[in-house]
């Protein structure tokens, strides 16, 4: 894993790192300030862009950079870009990549909060970059963006997701039934369907798991997302595999590691009440013992 440093810490990467990307115009020294096209002036309200147009403003993005081919440690770089009222953190990152430094690396796909590619830490809080509007942040200060914590950093804002998906796969996240299949659909009442609705919303972005202090210190912990996906089946009236899943989550790295810190619920971009779901799994385990 790339070294962890607090925001604001300069990490001296040395000048040798600059050679390999000489054409990039992005010397990888710490705290280098870059200005985007049209955005070189200090931060200010720029008024509107044309009649009835959208207000524009300058914003400084302070990004945690790490290139495994050049750097020994992560470092910080600042970029100032001109953005608009409906722009999101992802738009700012895309603009920096397009206009200032093509080496900036992050994952993104749907760009409206559905695919779960772009979970990152924005001003110390896990969020989806595509769902975080710049105007909702305090842009009088640099917007600090770093990779989610607890997973190995691969490059810039990209982390290795495999440990996260491995934990997900372990909880048997699929419908388990016994006996012959019905010819038509299985019948499920509306209240039974409603029972697990909240946890069906999960997009596996890892914002919750990587916000959990227990997960940071113990990477073996299943983490909130895996428990959410177990919950989705444990409370599905059609499923007959609950005992197996509860047994897995009764493990020492299972549901009892949760310390009810609520970081996960706050981080979830889908508004899932994760801490509640975990509590319900704990209750199911206690009820089973009785």
């Amino acid at each position: 894993m790339a070294g962890e440093k607090e925001p604001g810490t300069r990490s001296a990467t040395g000048e040798e790192g600059g050679e390999g990307i000489a054409t990039s115009g992005a010397a990888p020294s710490s705290d280098y300030d870059h200005a985007g096209k049209g955005g070189a002036s200090p931060r200010q309200e720029k008024g509107t862009d044309g009649a009835g147009g959208i207000p524009s403003f300058d914003v400084t993005m302070r990004l945690r950079r790490y290139n495994p081919e050049l750097d020994t440690e992560p470092h910080w770089e600042n970029y100032t870009v001109t953005m608009y009222g409906t722009d999101r953190v992802l738009d700012a990152l895309s603009k920096i990549k397009a206009e200032i430094d093509g080496t900036l690396t992050f994952r993104r796909s749907c760009a409206h909060g559905i695919c779960g590619s772009d979970a990152m830490r924005v001003n110390g809080r896990n969020r989806l970059a595509c769902k975080t509007l710049l105007k909702d942040l305090d842009i009088s200060k640099p917007v600090v963006v770093e990779p989610i914590k607890g997973l190995p950093v691969e490059k810039d804002l990209v982390v290795d997701m495999e440990p996260f998906f491995a934990a997900y796969r372990e909880v048997m996240p699929f419908l388990i039934t016994r006996g012959a299949e019905p010819t038509r659909e299985r019948v499920q009442s509306q209240p039974d369907r409603e029972r697990f609705d909240d946890t069906t919303k999960c997009i596996l972005c890892a914002a919750c798991t990587s916000s959990c202090p227990v997960f940071w210190t113990d990477g073996q912990y299943f983490g909130p997302a895996a428990i959410v996906n177990a919950h989705r089946f444990i409370f599905d009236s059609r499923d007959q595999g609950s005992d197996l899943r509860l047994e897995i989550l009764n493990d020492r790295e299972g549901v009892w590691r949760c310390r009810t810190i609520f970081n996960c619920s706050e981080a979830c971009p889908r508004g899932i009440q994760i801490t509640k779901a975990i509590a319900e799994v704990k209750q199911a385990l206690i009820a089973r013992k009785l």
Binding site: G52, T105, C110, D156, P173, S189
Partner: protein, 617 residues
């Protein structure tokens, strides 16, 4: 470079790819290559539902569904394919339910159904409740459910592998089976007769043969060759040729462009669907389910303008008609907002509890991205590029065609990348989720069965050379233009000149713009010279795909001097069945002096029981 050997390689892990994998994986050794993680695929963004004539809430049957699909596609639909899709829709929905998909339920506990644009009772009498749904995240639940099943069945995924080339050999050059020294042949009977009906028989080489794919591993920059007996393309759409689009950044038409560059035709590419209700200025999709649940479109005067354009089913007319009506309102000065450049989607008469139960995600989009509260305020909307009706031509077995009739043995395609053609010139809402499930399943079964009876085709020496040369060329250049400006210029010209309204003049403008952009692209420079996670490089490759596809879209649109479905020519505003009741086929060919040129051809439409009629709603 690494090499791998699988019976079946599936390219893409959205709905079609994973549905295919579930079938293929249980029959043959299968690998799924995806440039994302499976759960990031854009199937997950689909909202409103998946139609099937379950008749759970009112009378319905698959024949009515077929008729609606054919009429919705303005009669350019191949009717045999539409029949297959609508008939198999019922099992496709039931399959998903059995896999665990949490559909909304009726009070009796059956799968609930709701209205959707263009889906009607008894050949157009009135809207019918046919769409099976899970709130307004049906695509999300389909993607999650299929991934869950892939986990259960231990499907082998290669995540963040970009397929950049298809190994397609002329059959006369393909060395197969016993001709290949040292190939480990699995026992098989009748290996000499390996083609499906119409395919080549050994000893009579004709057409093309598949040998595998070339892929680029994002995390390391390494090239991989996947040798395969069968390849399934399930790479999705190409919405990023446009600026205003509901599509993900990653929908760059890779599979279409790769097939096209390998000499396979692209069918009906001029038909691109503009979804009526994109969030104004952003293009983010608000499902047609908003109108299925009672939402109404209004102009600046508050008028329900769809009453004028589609008196019978009004706001639930098919998407091409609604999108055109909206654009027309704006053009005639009745648009809302400070610039009069959008219309309004009004949900304020619906109960907030009803909105929360049926449309939670899309109302949150309005709040998050536009700061509009849909309980009390109408939502600004404008058409957004949404879906490619065209693509790689296939037959009902999901086999890819190299001309109007010839099957490419071992090559399959399903979902948005393919053109079966069940959507004709305009896809009905919900029929894409249906398409991926029905034809994804068919592709998976057919590919595995083919692989189990076919010979290996030898991978030729240096099969990766062209791909490597392309990448190294981009990396080696140190001065030149960055890709972003070219991409933006492409998207600008496509939005301005090849969108809802088109004329010969605008299309010619687009064509000359694209020509110039291609020239600029030949000197494009990639800033990131690294090997690991070089997204700068891959985005540049994707831009090359987009440029090729934009050209094909515009060429088809220029040639089609009529208006039909999603393609509207202001200079030819009527449908012309005499000259254009036929599919467009575009081939890339190399001239004797080495230039690349496009050849246009046509393919007949399959009509079975429905004769073309005037399309009124």
């Amino acid at each position: 470079m690494q090499t791998h050997k699988f019976d079946v390689v599936i390219v893409g892990a959205g709905g079609a790819g994973m549905r295919a994998a579930l079938e293929s994986g249980q029959r043959a050794r299968t690998a799924v290559l995806t440039k994302l993680y499976p759960t990031r695929s854009h199937t997950g963004a689909a909202q409103g539902g998946m139609c099937a004539a379950l008749a759970n809430v009112e009378e319905d049957n698959w024949e009515w569904h077929t008729f609606d699909t054919v009429k919705g596609g303005d009669y350019l639909v191949d009717q045999d394919a539409a029949e297959v899709m609508c008939k198999e829709a019922i099992d496709a929905v039931l399959d998903l339910e059995k896999m665990g998909l949490p559909f909304n339920r009726t009070p009796e506990g059956r799968i609930d159904q709701r209205r959707f644009g263009g889906h009607t009772r008894n050949h157009g009498e009135a809207a019918v409740r046919r769409s099976c749904f899970a709130a307004d995240r049906t695509g999300h639940m389909i993607l999650q459910t299929l991934y869950q099943q892939c986990v259960k069945h231990e499907v082998e995924f290669f995540n963040e592998y970009y397929v950049l080339d298809l190994l397609l050999l002329d059959a006369k050059d393909a060395r197969t089976g016993a001709e290949i020294e040292g190939m480990d042949e699995r026992p098989e009977g009748g290996s000499q007769d390996h083609g499906p009906a119409g395919g080549p028989v050994a000893g009579v080489p004709a057409g093309k043969r598949v040998a595998g794919v070339v892929a680029y591993e994002l995390s390391t920059g390494e090239i991989h060759i996947f040798q395969a007996k069968a390849v399934v393309f399930a790479t999705g759409g190409a919405g990023k040729v446009y600026k205003t689009t509901s599509n993900a950044h990653t929908l760059t038409g890779d599979g279409m462009a790769i097939a096209y560059r390998r000499g396979l035709p692209l069918e009906d590419m001029e038909f691109f669907q503009f979804h009526p209700t994109g969030l104004a200025g952003l293009g983010i999709l608000l499902s047609e389910a908003a109108r299925g649940e009672g939402g109404i479109l209004r102009n600046a005067d508050g008028e329900r303008f769809m009453e004028r354009y589609a008196p019978t089913i009004k706001d639930l007319a098919p998407r091409d008609i609604v999108a055109r009506s909206m654009a027309n309102e704006v053009r005639e000065g009745r648009g809302a907002g400070p610039n009069k450049d959008y219309v309004l989607l009004d949900l304020t008469h619906l109960e907030p509890a009803h909105i929360d139960a049926k449309l939670p995600d899309i109302t949150e989009f309005a709040r998050t991205y536009l700061g509009v509260e849909p309980y009390t305020e109408p939502v600004p909307v404008y058409p957004t590029a949404h879906y490619a009706m065209g693509g790689v031509p296939t037959n009902v077995n999901s086999e890819v065609l190299s001309d109007n009739t010839t099957v490419v043995p071992g090559l399959y395609a399903a979902g948005e990348v393919a053109c079966v053609s069940v959507h004709g010139s305009n896809r009905l809402g919900t029929n894409s989720l249906l398409d991926i499930n029905v034809f994804g399943k068919r592709a998976g079964i057919a590919a595995a069965e083919y692989a189990n009876r076919a010979d290996w085709v030898a991978v030729p020496e240096g099969a990766e050379a062209e791909t490597v040369a392309m990448l190294e060329g981009m990396l080696a250049r140190t001065t030149g233009e960055r890709p972003a400006a070219i991409r933006r210029a492409l998207q600008d010209t496509m939005d301005a000149n090849a969108q809802v309204f088109r004329t010969e003049g605008t299309l010619k403008q687009a064509l000359s713009d694209i020509e110039r952009l291609k020239e600029r692209f030949s000197r494009v420079v990639v800033q990131d010279k690294g090997r690991r996670f070089n997204t700068d490089l891959l985005e540049t490759v994707e831009l090359g795909f987009l440029l090729d596809l934009a050209e094909v879209i515009v060429l088809g649109a220029l040639e089609r001097r009529e208006s039909r479905g999603g393609h509207f020519r202001e200079d030819y505003p009527n449908r012309d069945d005499v000259n254009f009741m036929r599919h467009t086929m575009v081939y890339r060919e190399t001239t004797a002096d080495g230039r690349l040129v496009n050849r246009l051809d046509f393919k007949p439409v399959v009509q079975t029981r429905y004769k073309p009629m005037e399309r009124k709603y």
